[in-house]
Amino acid sequence: MASYKELPRTAQIRLVSSHQEVYEPCDDSFALVDALLADRNNLLEHHPTLCMEIGCGSGYVITSLALILGQEASGINYIATDINPHAVKVTRETLEAHGVGAELIVTDIASGLEERLTGLVDVMVVNPPYVPTPEDEVGVHGITSSWAGGENGRSVIDRILPVADRLLSEKGWLYMVTLTANNPSEICNQMRKKGYASKIVVQRSTEEESLHIIKFWRDLDKEVNESDQSASGFIGSLFALGPLLSYWRGTTSKQKQQK
């Protein structure tokens, strides 16, 4: 069994369920799972107890995370939420097709969990609705909720970040997808004020979009603190080019599924 365990498995596209109102796995989903794979050894050494995904969509990411890290025997429990009931149903089907499980809740971000789940989440993954859109498209039902991000694509991201800060444990890690138009360096600075260091785990540019998967962790140790100051500067310079347009209307992988 040991050799089998050493092969990192992720969700298989042919086993991912679908629905016309649910976002299908796309470049951003793949980039997030690639980031989790790239950080797999660290994640395994991290020994998380509770892992959570906010906005689980098709279930591709939470299923992959469960396959990468293991289930109950490994002492890990998974929770996933989505505001779209169709998405949660599809996630359930995708998990079942891969023989893994997660606790699923239809809710807005983590509403209902914020009191009792405070400080308990060791790993959180988020592929937020990051596409810049008019504000009135934010919070619309169905598949729109998977991509409509309001001004600079930040409306939902800026609501998720304080919730993540609240739910993450002392050793908690957050992996989040951002688009250049979201001004990721500003997000990192904002999180630094809450005491988080950050680094880019995966960067991927296509003709359509430039994606960064950023990892955030609480910066408790002073030595880590100093080296991360430079890491933070590094991120700043990487992001220095963007956003060139604060209201960027390019096509993104999320918008491709827009009807």
Partner: protein, 122 residues
């Protein structure tokens, strides 16, 4: 929905002060066997609200948990087995979670609680 999740959920209706624990209305409970991990149980024991957990297990038809528990009981295999079973192996498949303050019912279908609020509840 496992009782672990139930223990982490509160009523999220605007203005509700005591939204925990949600009362369980069980129409269908299913059991799914999973491997036990003692370390996980020990970590979660510290986080669980025991009274809410015991009441929830009764609502699910499982009556083997002691009404009170302390960490010394984690040395007992019999206790760990019961804790594991109630925490991770019992699933509320169909039913509802009821806000203790307002009586508002949050439906649970196919094991998934729906905590979405109406506009006048946000």
């Amino acid at each position: 929905m496992r009782l672990l999740t139930h223990n982490m959920l509160s009523s999220n209706i605007k203005g509700v002060v005591n939204g925990f624990p949600l009362r369980i209305e069980a129409e269908k409970v299913v059991e799914k066997t999973v491997e036990m991990n003692g370390e996980f149980l020990k970590k979660m024991f510290e986080k669980i609200d025991w009274k809410a957990f015991v009441d929830a297990s009764w609502a699910m038809g499982y009556t083997e948990l002691p009404e009170e528990a302390d960490s010394s009981m984690l040395d007992s295999d019999e206790f760990l087995n019961r804790f594991h079973h109630a925490l991770l192996e019992l699933h509320l498949e169909e039913g509802a979670l009821v806000c203790p303050e307002t009586g508002r019912r949050f439906p649970v279908n196919k094991g998934i609680p729906n905590m979405l609020l109406h506009e006048d509840e946000v």
